[in-house]
């Protein structure tokens, strides 16, 4: 039974919070990767979008660890804040992605369903991360730093090639950032819960 001795000490353990956060971040990344691959196969073949997608994620202004050494040297409080910042930066674009995907010609339901599921689960993961940060550093709900997104007009361009590139780029950045979040959370979990001995 949970909470054997009543409600004051009764809370989800930090280990359980991290387990659920990692399971959710893994799930969000696999959905994002599937959605990107599906869109790439269906709409981007032979259009050379990858070359234009270089250095155009709205979150590239955020300083994030780019290799294992950087990720292991950063203080866990800063890495938690990086995760929060990247997650917050995606609230707005995910909201618009769901409505704009419906306007893509013959957009398969599977892409639309994934966009809705990711938007829903991203909010849920953000709720969990705020809980984790509050537990690891009581009183601190993390800095409010995040990147604003101004890509909505490009998702609504009349020219189809430009509009499809805007979607390609957004899904490419989503795959990348959801992979970062998943990776950082797995590092944090091993560091804070398993003493770096997963």
């Amino acid at each position: 039974p949970i909470c054997p001795n009543g409600s004051d000490s009764c809370q989800v353990s930090l280990g359980d919070l991290f387990d659920r956060a990692v399971k959710l971040s893994h799930y969000i990344h696999s959905l994002s990767a599937e959605m990107f691959n599906e869109f790439d196969e269906r709409y981007a073949q032979g259009r050379g979008f990858i070359a234009k997608a270089i250095n155009s994620c709205h979150t590239s202004t955020l300083t994030t660890p780019e290799d294992k050494e950087q990720a292991q040297q950063i203080h866990h409080e800063d890495l938690l804040n990086v995760v929060l910042s990247v997650l917050r930066s995606w609230n707005d674009p995910l909201l618009h992605l769901v409505s704009e995907v419906q306007r893509i010609k013959e957009a398969p339901d599977t892409i639309l369903w994934k966009a809705m599921e990711i938007e829903e689960q991203n909010k849920r993961l953000l709720e969990g991360m705020e809980k984790i940060v509050g537990r690891v550093h009581p009183g601190d709900i993390g800095n409010e730093v995040y990147s604003t997104w101004s890509g909505l007009p490009s998702l609504q361009l009349a020219d189809e090639d430009s509009r499809l590139f805007a979607f390609y780029n957004l899904l490419h950045c989503l795959r990348r950032d959801s992979h970062k979040i998943d990776n950082y959370l797995k590092l944090l979990k091993c560091r804070l819960i398993h003493d770096s001995n997963c």
């Binding site: 809370q11 989800v12 659920r20 959710l24 696999s30 809980k131």
Partner: protein
Amino acid sequence: NGQPPGKPEIIRCRSPEKETFTCWWKPSSDGGLPTNYTLFYKKEREKSYNECPDYKSGGPNSCYFDQKHTSIWTIYNVTVKATNDLGSNTSAPYYVDVAYIVEPDPPVNLTLEWVDQAYAKYLLLNWASPPLADVRSGWLTLEYELRIKPEEGQEWEIIFVGLGTKYQLFSLNSGVKYVVQVRCRTDNGEWSQWSSESYIQLPKEFRLKD
């Protein structure tokens, strides 16, 4: 005349897919007077209680928490209060962690096939995850358990299968009619109900390789 109501009790909470959940309560004596029930809940560190958002969807004596009201990051403290003209009585608090009350629907489409090949003879079982969980594989990781017994037999033999949705069963007795069921659970949740029964009559004469 009449009495204040007896103390009700929250008896069970269940989530089918870690996205929503329902709690049920058991009324006690109503003291011979019309009695109504109010369910209250609060999350960790919350000072004040909130009232049940939906008394209808889960059927009688129940409260249904939709996605907006369901969080996997907190423990819920749930109580129910019985009130009639002569007073009221509140249940003991019932604590809920949504991740631990997940009880998926049973697996579906259980099929049985007797495979008779040169090097091996076995019963091949195939099934599918419950529809609700299927779409969210990865978020709802299901593991399975099957049980089998001769139709006339009393004792089930239970076999833990793990993540897969098919299984090969070797050491069975020829000529027997077997009944099989399968169930599932999420990593730290409750076992689902057993699936509906499937039957297969094994051929009379086969010899395992001597």
